[in-house]
């Protein structure tokens, strides 16, 4: 018997670590990984609430999130490869063509 609140707090902690690494990290691949971490945290919230309500709809939503995240990873990594070809760097501080 574990309180559902503990699962939700774990999800909140993971989500906040994800935001933190999104803000702190400078490598574009690691930033992308922290987005995946945040998606996973939200998935955990969905599963916990699906368990609480005794419905599988939350789990199906997680399934759709996984599908979209996989598609997003494929497209995002292709964009990263294209950026690397054009600019020869993965550091987000140097990818500032549209700044100013």
């Amino acid at each position: 018997m574990v309180p559902i609140a503990y699962y939700l707090i774990l999800a909140a902690v993971l989500f906040c670590i994800g935001i933190g690494s999104f803000l702190i990290k400078r490598n574009i691949i690691t930033i992308f990984m922290s987005i995946e971490l945040m998606l996973n945290a939200v998935n955990l919230t969905f599963v916990a609430f699906a368990h609480q309500w005794k419905l599988v709809h939350g789990q199906i939503f997680v399934f759709f999130v996984m599908v979209v995240a996989a598609a997003e990873a494929a497209v995002g990594l292709a964009i990263i490869i294209a950026i690397f070809r054009a600019r020869q760097t993965l550091n987000v501080d140097q990818i500032n063509l549209m700044k100013n």
Partner: protein, 168 residues
């Protein structure tokens, strides 16, 4: 018993996430993200979501992270350079994250009794399995969204091929 299982994998999960944050080399971050995803799969399993636990291991830890590691190796990404970063992120971002975390934690602990308890193995009785229930809903009520995702995947494949192609 379930609490011990939860605590072990919750600690593993948070440790992996923090390791992702503190490692400087992208490949170390990717491998610690695999640890996070594997422990999350166990946590899903304790919540009675067996299908999602399997999908988490296969799709996330298997496919997505292999793609990440592959790109890290392909681009020969070295150690991250230490830069000051954006000042707005440190002034507004980090305190904001801490505030959100404190607020959410307080709220969940306050409403702990109302949120109820998780029992191992989920809520279903022993006549239907988790996968049966999921597939029944997915292929009857939610058939249209399910088919639309296949188009999304197709578009994503085409987009990835077009974006990663060499300029002629």
């Amino acid at each position: 018993m379930q609490l011990v299982l939860f605590l072990i994998f919750a600690v593993l999960c948070v440790a992996g996430a923090l390791n992702l944050l503190f490692q400087r080399h992208p490949i170390n971050s990717a491998l610690s993200l695999v640890v996070v995803m594997m422990s999350l799969a166990v946590i899903y399993w304790t919540l009675g979501a067996e299908f999602l636990a399997a999908a988490q291991v296969i799709v996330y830890a298997g496919a997505v992270m292999v793609l990440f590691v592959f790109v890290v190796m392909l681009l020969n990404a070295g150690e991250e350079e230490r830069t000051t970063g954006s000042r707005a992120a440190y002034i507004a971002g980090i305190p904001g994250v801490a505030a959100i975390l404190a607020l959410l934690t307080y709220m969940f602990m306050h409403e702990r009794a109302a949120l109820g308890y998780a029992t191992l193995g989920g809520s279903l009785n022993h006549t239907t399995s988790n996968i049966t229930e999921i597939s029944r809903v997915l292929f009857t009520e939610l058939l249209l969204p399910f088919e639309v995702t296949s188009i999304l995947i197709l578009v994503a494949i085409l987009g990835a091929v077009v974006l990663a192609r060499k300029e002629q």
